[in-house]
């Protein structure tokens, strides 16, 4: 039962925090992986979904039923989430420059639990709580302040947008059932607002172009953390949110055009960034952008979104990114033929082939989209691999030889499993050979090298256009308005005008009374006159009554 497995994963994740950080990391990772394998077996062995749910007493007259049993479609997604988490553990263990492996593995485990909770959600509040808590987990896994800052600003804003649209729906419909979302189009208001906010929220979470700064800022982290964050955490949550609330996309005419527009911009932006930026971690982040852009394009253009094919594509993208960071120039002593035939090259071909094939499978129902995507992926991956095979590596050869088998293990395993479960794919062998030939030609010729001058532009390497735009157009005016308001409202109006006037008025009154009470002829005359006035007034009032 998944409910039990979720608790096992949660508690194993929490226990891992308390494990010594620099010792026994392998043992703890092994235990975590065992817990995950148990969860996978429990999920695949569950023939009939049980209807166990946890009642969350959130308020006196309101209880929320937390559903922890995935429906059939979400079951595959749950498996995909667990597999990608196991891959994250594996690469965390391999990362020699990351010292808090146990801590990170614990966060990966809890993040996986939250993704599962989001996948199983049948009400908004469960979804919203899972999204928010996952943000806290990912925030904790980022170990650089600058990266943390950008991440939490963006995702806090995204969470608030999600909260606001769900609050509108809750306020109008009066229920929190996701299944009832389809009814929203019939009679309720603010449809365009809801859809646009939902899209912005998912764009921010998945790092779509113009909202991608947070994922560019994580480039100083180690590559295993970058891959975990890009493929197994918040961006994936963004897709889960979009998929769960996809019923809302039909209520506005703007939803699909916006999805298509932003996905195209993202793929182009990501491709240019991956090719022209020199820093390998930023390249990795841009590859993530291409992946999420392609995924969003499937939401925009395809009639149905296949969970199985999406997660195959996700795992292939994850493996490609991990391999991209690892792969390095083979020894210069080798001939060109040997360099192509060596183990690294074979693995590279395997990784690229699985990446491109999984995309083809994912988008095959729209042949134009699939072909364009394939072309872009082919050019970008060939250029990146050509660069990697011709650049100097910081690692020495011995280390590379030692690690290459460990790096190869998950790739070979996943590819064998992929072929085993999709043996029909082998029928496409002419297509596969043709694609790989084109790819190899592109790899050897590397046509993008003619645009090498672009890489020398400092702005491309170090500039952050989106942050500059945000700072100039949004933050700076807010700061100026805030300072002006402080000056005008607090200091000029209240302090210098109102309070100062009251102070002066009180001073003036005190002055008058002092003068009246002074021992002088004038004050005696005034007081006598006032007394006479009061007597006359009292007399006339009495007479008139």
């Amino acid at each position: 039962m998944l409910t039990n497995s979720i608790f096992i994963l949660l508690f194993t994740g929490i226990f891992t925090f308390f494990a010594p950080q620099k010792r026994t990391t392998s043992v703890w990772t092994y235990l975590l992986a065992l817990a995950f394998i148990y969860a996978i077996m429990a999920l695949t062995g569950q023939a009939v979904p049980s209807d166990i749910s946890i009642i969350w007493t959130a308020m006196p007259d309101f209880s929320i039923s937390i559903n922890l049993n995935p429906i059939r479609a979400a079951k595959i997604a749950a498996l995909g989430v667990m597999v990608i988490s196991i891959l994250s553990f594996y690469y965390n263990l391999l990362a020699s420059d990351d010292y808090n492996t146990n801590n990170l593995n614990g966060l990966v485990s809890i993040n996986c639990v939250l993704l599962l909770i989001a996948l199983c959600s049948t009400n908004y509040l469960q979804l919203l709580a899972a999204v928010g808590m996952a943000d806290v987990m990912v925030y904790s896994s980022i170990n650089r302040y600058d990266s943390k800052r950008q991440y939490i600003y963006s995702n806090f804003f995204a969470d608030f947008l999600l909260l606001s649209i769900l609050a509108i729906i809750l306020g109008q419909q009066g229920n929190i059932n996701i299944m009832r979302l389809e009814d929203y189009s019939s009679s309720w208001h603010h449809r365009d607002y809801i859809v646009i906010m939902l899209l912005i929220c998912t764009f921010i979470k998945s790092g779509i172009a113009l909202f991608h700064t947070a994922y560019q800022k994580i480039s100083p982290l180690t590559s295993n953390r970058i891959n975990f964050i890009i493929f197994a955490s918040t961006p994936l949550m963004g897709i889960i949110v979009l998929n769960t609330l996809h019923g809302l996309l039909n209520i506005s005419q703007y939803s699909y055009p916006l999805l298509k527009l932003f996905s195209v911009i993202t793929v182009l932006w990501g491709s240019l960034g991956a090719i022209f930026v020199s820093n390998i971690n930023r390249k990795s982040a841009y590859m993530g952008m291409i992946f999420w852009g392609l995924t969003f394009s499937c939401f925009g253009w395809l009639l149905s979104f296949s969970q199985t094919r999406f997660f195959t594509f996700l795992i292939a993208a994850f493996l490609f990114n991990s391999w991209l960071v690892f792969v390095e120039r083979p020894s210069q002593k080798l001939s060109l033929w040997h360099r192509i035939c060596n183990f690294q090259m074979i693995l590279t071909l395997l990784v690229v082939a699985s990446y491109m094939l999984s995309w083809w499978q994912f988008a095959s129902s729209n042949i134009v989209l699939a072909t364009i995507g394939e072309g872009i992926l082919g050019v970008v991956t060939a250029t990146l691999m050509a660069e990697r095979f011709n650049c100097l590596s910081p690692n020495n050869d011995r280390l590379a030889v030692k690690n290459i088998f460990l790096q190869a293990l998950p790739i070979i395993t996943i590819v064998i499993l992929f072929v085993y479960f999709n043996h029909n794919i082998l029928l496409l062998w002419p297509y596969i050979i043709a694609t790989l030939t084109i790819w190899l030609t592109c790899f050897l010729l590397n046509p993008m090298r003619y645009f090498g001058f672009v890489c020398k532009i400092n702005f491309i390497q170090n500039g952050d256009m989106v942050t500059t735009i945000y700072s100039t157009l949004f933050l700076a005016p807010l700061l100026v308005v805030g300072r002006l308001l402080r000056l005008m409202v607090d200091i000029v109006f209240l302090e210098r005008t109102v309070i100062s006037s009251i102070k002066n008025a009180i001073r003036f009154l005190i002055f008058i009374f002092r003068r009246l009470h002074a021992n002088s002829v004038l004050s005696s005359t005034i007081f006598t006159f006032l007394g006479i006035c009061i007597i006359f007034m009292a007399y006339y009032q009495g007479v008139s009554k």
Partner: protein
């Protein structure tokens, strides 16, 4: 099971008085450095929290209906009776106020300057606040409403920073206005019908008198809430107070305004002031946006906290003014976590400020080497901005749902102000954590939060998480 649970209200009122007595007669030697009187203060608040827990367990259920009643006859001619009662809403607020003051007392454990005075006035404030939140008749309500100003006035006068005379002047000016108007309104109401507070909206008055009375009551309560132009005296106190206990007490004070309005108009405001409510809502929302913007451009963390608190106080006020009482429990549960969170943030900020002054280090990056302080402050700020770490998360969503349904355009401004004030806090967190230069190495000379404070803040963290999982944990 207690035979007469109504007695719990009397105990709740008596414990702080007993604490004041013991604190006043406690002996202090130079060696004890105030620890004796502080222990009395902490013990008093903890004792009352236990009584509150028992009260929560004793009440039949968590519905907003009034549960326990305690009556004292003071005068027969004119007939003046003190009536105290409690419901789940006031129980939540009482628990939050007690916990916030408890954190405040723990926060000043190293501050030996006039510690006896601090503890005595803090307990006096707690006593007045308890009385105010339990009061169900006009007379006791007014007495506690005004009497709680005395301890704050004294604390600001004694422990305020350089501009304390100006602050006290504003304090006096604004509160005099509120006090006079409420006194006038209550005298008229008392003269016409000596009613209990829950029946006050049913009082029959002539048209002009109704306008005068309800207008006066509204202005009196608004003078306590930082709505323009009344925000100025509260912001002046916040910016000029570095003592965490006084800061927390000063920030609890606006709660009395929100609570007063909720108590006087539990469901809807009287028809006579209905046309003016729109103007009030507009002023409230403009205030939220203006204060959030000022907080955004201001470097002072105290102003940022004030800006955050103002925005949330107005949010709760607007939630309470909606024509429904369904949100009352949401407001209560949200305020419970919110006050604890703000008190905890203030304690850490005060500790950092003290350390900074003693080491003359810059404020930027001061947290970079303080693991405990950094973790705890991050937790509370993430909870404060509304991530699912406290009862604010879910309950605020219900309040937003009410506001967004009522008027989307206005609610969007409210959301903008909330996002901005939350970003203010996040901004300062990273300002404290992230250092651009080499000053991070120098921060090794700064000491982290003392263990006793860490324990207290950890309990506060646990309470906020529990309040997220089950906000009704202290009720049967």
């Amino acid at each position: 099971m207690i035979e007469n649970p109504n007695i719990l209200l009397t105990i709740l009122m008596s414990v702080p008085l007993l604490g004041i007595l013991f604190a006043a007669i406690s002996k202090e030697s130079p060696e004890s450095a105030g620890s004796n009187v502080l222990s009395v203060g902490i013990l008093t608040v903890v004792s009352n929290l236990i009584v509150l827990y028992i009260t929560g367990q004793t009440t039949a259920d968590s519905t907003p209906a009034l549960q326990l009643f305690e009556k004292f006859e003071w005068l027969s001619t004119p007939k003046i009776e003190f009536l105290f009662t409690i419901d789940s809403f006031s129980l939540s607020l009482l628990a939050a106020v007690h916990l916030a003051i408890l954190l405040g007392l723990i926060g000043v454990h190293n501050n030996t300057y006039r510690q006896k005075t601090q503890v005595i006035f803090a307990l006096l404030f707690l006593e007045m606040m308890t009385g105010y939140l339990l009061a169900a008749d006009l007379f006791s309500f007014y007495i506690f409403f005004e009497a709680m100003l005395l301890p704050l006035f004294m604390l600001v006068g004694m422990l305020g920073d350089v501009h304390r005379q100006d602050i006290l002047y504003r304090f006096f000016l604004y509160n005099l206005l509120g006090a006079s108007l409420l006194f006038m309104a209550l005298c008229i109401l008392f003269n016409y019908q000596n009613v209990n507070i829950q029946d006050i909206s049913k009082a029959v008055l002539s048209h002009n008198l109704e306008i005068i009375v309800w207008g006066a009551i509204f202005i009196a309560f608004l003078s306590r809430i930082p709505i323009w132009p009344f925000h100025y005296w509260i912001s002046s106190i916040n910016v000029n107070i570095s003592n965490p206990l006084v800061f927390i007490i000063a920030n609890i004070l606006p709660l009395t305004g929100v609570y007063g309005l909720i108590r006087f108009f539990p469901l809807t405001a009287p028809d006579i002031i209905e046309p003016y409510l729109l103007a009030l809502e507009i002023i409230s929302i403009v205030t939220m946006v203006v204060i959030a913007l000022i907080g955004f451009s201001n470097r002072d963390i105290h102003y940022k906290i004030f800006s955050y608190m103002t925005v949330y106080y107005i949010l709760y006020l607007l939630g309470a003014l909606l024509p429904t009482d369904a949100l009352l429990s949401n407001i209560g549960f949200s305020i419970f976590s919110w006050l604890i969170i703000v008190a905890a943030i203030e304690i850490i900020v005060a500790h950092l400020e003290k350390e900074r002054q003693s080491t003359s280090l810059p404020e930027r990056g001061i947290l970079s080497n303080l693991k405990c302080a950094s973790f705890i402050l991050s937790f509370f700020i993430l909870a404060a901005v509304g991530l699912p770490l406290s009862s604010m998360f879910l309950n605020n969503m219900f309040i937003f749902a009410g506001l967004l349904t009522y008027n989307l355009k206005m609610a969007l401004f409210i959301l903008f102000a909330i996002v901005l004030s939350s970003i203010n806090l996040l901004q300062h967190l990273f300002y404290l954590k992230y250092s651009n230069n080499d000053s991070a190495e120098n921060t090794n000379s700064i000491s982290d939060i003392p263990p006793s404070v860490i324990v207290a803040l950890s309990v506060a963290m646990a309470l906020t998480i529990i309040s997220f999982i089950n906000p009704l944990w202290y009720m049967e």
